[in-house]
């Protein structure tokens, strides 16, 4: 018990522990001297203030004619928050502070000089960056197109087939699946002579791959069935048609929902009638507008 009492006495004698200040810790500001009650408010006194050029002595100005004059001056009074005064400050108290005033001659002001380092802000110019429309992630869903391929008729004349088609693509991302409906009429040498006008209707399905972007390249294999009305020597024949083919082309997104479609490819139409079937390998091209 006597040991505990001795330790307590020692601690009381030593007082609270004094720790060293932490590195970077802010020193507590010294308390300003208390102003005596009823004492007059101290006025700023004459000090070594770096006055602006307008307020400097003409003799001094003559010695340094090219000196800068736009230096900002900060006058801090211990009892007041720092105040920044600039040249030409119209406030009377600030002007008085700058010019000096009579009062108790105790220098209690500190002067800070701020130097302008930042460049003045430039007027904002025209915007040069604008976020554009993102590229399409799918190709056209609906295409109205024109296809052409050429054959020869039985009499050796050029027979050009002109087909108008409607394409609907329910799958049109990286894999494309499309339904094509095409209606065609014969042109070329025979039709130009007014001898006849054969007709054709086809329903095709296409399966392929593509990379959707502003310009979407694609490759598509097609199979189809249909019928043709063929006239020769004034007799109308009805032939069943089935086709296989391959189209390769692009869809160019002119607008968000407007595409130009162009492709070239190979088509093999089979004509089946009267117990026999013939086919012909032909080059074909197609142009269209997609939506």
């Amino acid at each position: 018990m006597s040991v505990v009492a001795s330790a307590m006495s020692l601690l009381l004698w030593l007082g609270p522990p004094v720790l060293p200040p932490k590195q970077g810790a802010r020193e507590p500001a010294p308390e300003p001297p208390a102003r005596a009650a009823g004492a007059p408010e101290r006025a700023p006194v004459d000090t070594e203030v770096d006055l602006p050029r307008e307020f400097q002595d003409p003799a001094t100005l003559a010695e340094t004619p090219n000196a800068e004059s736009d230096t900002a001056v900060v006058v801090i009074a211990p009892d007041e928050p720092p105040a920044i005064g600039l040249v030409g400050d119209p406030r009377p108290d600030r002007a008085a502070a700058l010019q000096g005033a009579t009062g108790p001659g105790v220098l209690e002001y500190e002067t800070l000089t701020a130097v302008r380092t930042a460049e003045p802000a430039q007027p904002s110019g025209k915007l040069t960056f604008q976020r554009g429309t993102p590229p399409p992630v799918k190709s056209a869903m609906l295409v109205i197109g024109y296809r052409q391929f050429a054959m020869r008729d039985g009499l050796g004349r050029d027979q050009t087939w002109h087909l108008v088609g409607l394409e609907i693509a329910p799958v049109r991302r990286y894999v494309r699946f499309a339904l094509h409906t095409e209606v065609g009429v014969e042109g070329g040498e025979a039709a130009t002579g007014g001898d006849r006008a054969d007709l054709m209707v086809l329903q095709k399905v296409g399966l392929g791959v593509q990379y959707p972007y502003w310009v979407t390249p694609f490759v598509e294999a097609q199979v189809g069935v249909g019928a043709a009305r063929i006239e020769l020597f004034e007799r109308n024949d009805l032939a069943a048609i089935y086709t296989v083919g391959l189209d390769a082309g692009v869809q160019w997104a002119l607008l968000k929902h407007l595409y130009f479609v162009g492709s070239v490819g190979w088509i093999r139409p089979y004509f089946a009638a009267t117990g026999r079937t013939v086919y012909s390998d032909q080059v074909t091209f197609r142009v269209g507008i997609g939506f």
């Binding site: 054959m151 199979v223 009805l238 089935y242 296989v244 079937t277 012909s280």
Partner: protein, 227 residues
């Protein structure tokens, strides 16, 4: 949609025996056994029905969109061969069903028997004609069709040149009530002229017919070509 795919697939499997062709039609070249002439026709619609050593007969059957019409006469009949061996127009027109078209159709007049006709097989209206001269033969048959059968001239006697450069003549006559006869004649040199006669219920002055007949060749042009 899937039915269309299946149908296309089945048709492709069934079409494995398909043959390549530039056209839906197949071009067939016919050469007479005695090599007196050759010609090309396209099938369909033309079908070869009768063939002798000196002549050939082709027909186009009556069909509507591939469906044949029962008991209907052919719409086109073509007979090609030397004029001294091929059938005459009276036979062609009769086979077209000319007599069954209506009561107003005039009967084909009987041709009087002429001595020697049976032995030669030459129609009576050609007995006094130089058969080696294709123009004389054409004129004689044109007169027969107009005067004896009451036909009207649709296209008079005009020149016709084949792709092989062989010169000939052609005319077209319409016989009421709507049978057209168009006949081509080519010179074969020493022998009887070559005649290709077509009778039809349709107008025969067509590009199709001209292109087909431009590929006719007589033995003379065939010999020149082979040399």
């Amino acid at each position: 949609m899937w039915s269309a795919v299946l149908l296309a697939g089945s048709l492709m499997v069934g079409g494995c025996d398909a043959v390549p062709s530039d056209s839906y039609h197949t071009r067939v070249k016919y050469t007479a056994e005695d090599e007196s002439f050759s010609m090309e026709f396209i099938s369909p619609p033309w079908e070869l029905t009768t063939e002798t050593s000196t002549s050939v007969r082709l027909e186009i059957a009556a069909e509507i969109f591939g469906a044949s019409i029962e008991d209907a006469p052919p719409t086109h009949v073509l007979i090609a061969g030397a004029v001294d061996g091929a059938a005459g127009f009276d036979t062609i027109i009769e086979e077209l069903g000319f007599g069954d078209l209506g009561p107003d159709i005039p009967d084909i007049p009987d041709i009087p028997d002429i001595p020697g006709e049976e032995e030669t097989g030459i129609p009576s209206y050609l007995l006094d004609v130089d058969l080696s001269n294709h123009r004389d033969v054409a004129f004689a048959e044109l007169r027969y069709l107009t005067e004896e059968l009451g036909g009207l001239v649709v296209n008079g006697l005009t020149a016709f040149v084949t792709d092989a450069g062989e010169g000939g003549v052609v005319f077209q006559v319409g016989i009421e009530p709507g049978v057209f006869v168009r006949s081509f004649y080519f010179d074969r040199g020493q022998d009887a002229a070559l005649r290709v006669g077509v009778a039809s219920l349709f107008q025969l002055q067509t590009i199709d017919m001209d292109l087909m007949l431009k590929r006719v060749q007589s033995d003379r042009s065939m010999e020149e070509q082979s040399q």
